[in-house]
């Protein structure tokens, strides 16, 4: 999918900030979700249902966050991670409770990353994420997921 040119994304962030007014920080977190959804758009036509719920927050560039989440064997999952920070390179990995990585496919681009999982068993898994950036000290992030 073609990504909108940089100047259009900046304009949309500025517009969101103007509309949000005092909620400027909230507008930036939503932009992170927009990047996650941009990554998700590649997989929705393939039958993945995107959950409405998503995790989000801020972290220092390079800092790691861990999310514990229930997955079901028999489903196929994609996790999509976005960040709108300048120079943001998100990355994520998914581990079972023995600490072994379980993703079968991954991609990483500026502002977005994703990982696909076919859980070998039903249970809890750990999703570790980080966002590297040489241009931003504090970065926003949003993690969404879909299944089929």
């Amino acid at each position: 999918m073609k990504r909108p040119p940089v100047h259009r994304r900046l304009a949309s962030v500025l517009l969101a900030l103007m509309i949000a007014g005092g909620g400027g920080a909230l507008a930036i977190l939503d932009e992170a979700h927009s990047f996650a959804m941009e990554a998700a758009a590649r997989h929705v036509p393939k039958g993945f249902t995107v959950r409405e719920d998503y995790w989000n927050g801020e972290l220092k560039a390079g800092e790691k966050k861990i999310i514990r989440h229930q997955l079901f064997k028999g489903n196929e999952y994609w996790f999509w991670l976005g960040s709108s920070a300048d120079g943001a390179w998100p990355s994520l990995s998914i581990y079972d409770l023995d600490g072994r990585p379980v993703e079968v496919e991954r991609f990483q681009e500026l502002h977005m990353a994703a990982a696909r999982v076919l859980p070998p068993r039903t249970g809890s898994y750990l999703i570790m994420l980080t966002v590297d950036s040489k241009e931003s000290e504090i970065v926003d992030w949003a993690l969404a997921y879909g299944f089929r």
């Binding site: 040119p5 390179w89 990355s91 409770l97 750990l126 980080t130």
Partner: protein, 272 residues
């Protein structure tokens, strides 16, 4: 030309950047996690389990559909629990591809939302669900049910009713688990039974009840739920990967008893 000159350096900078690669560990040491745990827990939607049951067999979804409405309740705690139950029934009706059931459940969801005081937030979702049911657009209905849950949670949090939002989740999970365990019992297999391995979810619910406002925690129904969830959690945790047929039946019975307690005029005593 000025606009292009302004844009070009940014585009050039973006395209010249190389991906730094995945800096995350190849193996995780659970005794020493390299990052902070995010506290938000998201409960899976029923369709995450129902979809797998569909792949593993031919469940009798219609046989699990509710035959009657959801009644009226004197307190918002039980209303919230039943609201969650009704939304879970919406997911079930989609699996059954029963348009009339979806419409009936959609109207009940709206009625319950009105009783709780969140009608304006829920109405657009129910309208979308009813329209999608006319088109038999099952995917759209599933998405709209998920959106309904998210909207209800956000609305209740704005109303500082976080505890009621959690009750909606508990009600929905109990109903989804009741249906799943019933279908698994009908045609048992280890692969299907494994879907009930959700001790973390149960632990999460038990934990949220402990942190609820005392007025809700001490609600008779919540007391019964807390005990019942503890029993369900123990079965799931003890079973590990292999949940036997007897355990599936016990989980089903516990869920059914808890839901009966929620829906009865007087909270029922826990059956042995």
């Amino acid at each position: 030309m000025a606009a292009i000159a302004w844009v070009s350096p940014l585009v050039a900078q973006e395209s010249s950047q190389q991906a730094p690669g995945n800096s995350l560990p190849k193996q995780l040491d659970l005794s020493s996690l390299p990052g902070a745990l995010v506290e938000d827990i998201f409960v899976p939607v029923p369709s995450e389990i129902f979809g797998v049951l569909d792949k593993l067999g031919d469940p009798d979804w219609r046989g699990e559909l509710p035959e009657e409405g959801y009644g009226t309740y004197p307190d918002r705690t039980r209303l919230a629990l039943v609201f969650g139950l009704a939304v879970a029934d919406g997911f079930l009706a989609v699996e059954a591809e029963d348009r009339e059931a979806i419409k009936r459940i959609g109207r009940e969801i709206l009625r319950l939302a009105t009783a709780i005081g969140i009608q304006s937030a829920v109405t657009p979702h129910v309208q979308s669900i009813l329209e999608a049911s006319n088109r038999a657009d099952w995917g759209a209905i599933l998405q709209e049910l998920d959106r309904t849950q998210a909207t209800v949670r956000e609305t209740m949090e704005e109303m500082r009713d976080d505890d009621l939002a959690r009750c909606v989740s508990i009600g929905g999970w109990l109903r989804g688990t009741q249906v799943a365990s019933s279908l698994i019992s009908d045609s048992y297999s280890q692969d299907k039974a494994e879907l009930l391995s959700q001790p973390d979810i149960v632990r999460h619910f038990s934990g949220t009840i402990l942190h609820m406002d005392p007025s809700i925690q001490e609600n008779e129904t919540m007391v019964v739920l807390s005990v019942g969830l503890g029993k369900i959690g123990k079965i799931m945790a003890a079973s590990g990967d292999v949940i036997g047929a007897d355990d599936v039946a016990e989980i089903h019975e516990l869920c059914s008893n808890l839901l009966d307690s929620v829906r009865s005029a007087k909270p029922g005593k826990e059956k042995p």
